[in-house]
Symmetry: C2
Subunit: 227 residues, 2 copies
């Protein structure tokens, strides 16, 4: 029996964590099934057994693993005969840190209010308080003027755009964990917000379409917005 | 007989092109010797045989290859039994575009005057005219206030810094072309300018020290500044 604890909104089928999407896609990549359990920010007790307070948490038989990077490494080591996530490529770590410190940190400033509005009632106060403390601003203030920030966000995507003009996936001719890392960011946005980030003529848009179709449309069929 | 045409300054031993350094390091990585020929911006005739106007140009027996990316691909294909540059890692392409569109494009704004001042007399007017046309500013205006731009440059290096805190090279446990791509940028700066970019406590500084020592100190012994 395999269980993946994933962040969910008021609608328990709205699964929007970028880190959880990395793992949902990786499990499918390796042909592994899992019960994907909804979890809310304030349900710390439910994952206390993992020794920490965040999702994703994977329970695989007697093994409990948290942190998306560690889970990916675990899956590669535990299931070496299924398709590789290409974690042996050292550059994947750079993709991870670029995504987390450059891409996600700008993206969240578009999404904060949409995330808040989609959360279960019991999570809203926690989310507002913790995020407003981080930013030293209200959620509304952080998100304000997002349309004006879209051109600089687009420019920031240049290395990704040029890469995907030359090859089909970030990892090359077939997807790897680096694709799931970057895709997690865009799927986060798509699952929680109707704010349009990409234009159809963009190589990143095309790649995202491919990613949405992978593994029988796993991500494309998820609760979200068609943007 | 193998020849590499490299950009040189007034001092013909000052070889400072970031693209040429990618190839100089890659040749050494693969244990291949080459005569490294000095070339100046205005010596278009000398490389006309390559069908284009830029260096690096590699002449390997009857093969002539230009463009650092194509040369690296050629070296991998032609010399498969020597240590791999790990170009099969798709993510190397992202590293290339990040380096060229993010790292190099900020770095050059620190270096323009130093490059100009190190050039052969016959190259100076060409360099000033072509670059000032690109920027719509004088070289002096582009470089002005570089000390104030250093903190945002440092911040821009975050994904690289975090990667090199976790592993010894961009490519993982041993260097690959992705390391030579990023190193080319720092070696460009080091060969042409005494402006200090990195602090000794930075993981990027440590990595650069390692890179300077590779292949019997090939890059560390090059004409440049100890910064």
């Amino acid at each position: 029996m395999r269980k993946l604890y994933e962040l969910a909104g008021a609608d328990e089928n709205r699964r929007f964590s970028p880190y959880c999407w990395r793992i949902r896609m990786s499990l499918a990549h390796k042909g592994l099934e899992a019960d994907c359990m909804p979890w809310r920010f304030t349900e710390k007790e439910a994952i206390k057994f993992s020794g920490q307070e965040r999702v994703p948490v994977l329970v695989d038989g007697t093994n409990t693993i948290s942190d998306s990077w560690k889970i990916a490494k675990y899956l590669e080591a535990e299931y070496p005969d299924s398709p590789s996530l290409k974690l042996e490529n050292g550059e994947v770590l750079f993709i991870k840190f670029w995504t987390e410190t450059v891409l996600n940190s700008e993206l969240v400033k578009f999404l904060l209010m949409d995330i808040h509005d989609s959360l279960a009632a019991k999570d809203k106060a926690y989310f507002r308080e913790s995020r407003e403390k981080n930013y030293g601003k209200t959620l509304e203030e952080v998100v304000e003027g997002r349309e004006e920030r879209l051109p600089s966000f687009q420019k920031m995507l240049t290395p990704l755009r040029l890469t995907l003009k030359k090859q089909q996936f970030v990892a090359g001719e077939s997807p790897g964990f680096s694709d799931y890392i970057v895709f997690g960011a865009f799927q986060w946005a798509r699952c929680i917000s109707d704010f349009s980030l990409l234009q159809a003529a963009d190589s990143i848009y095309e790649w995202r379409e491919n990613m949405l179709g992978l593994h029988n449309g796993l991500a494309g069929n998820a609760v979200g917005y068609s943007v």
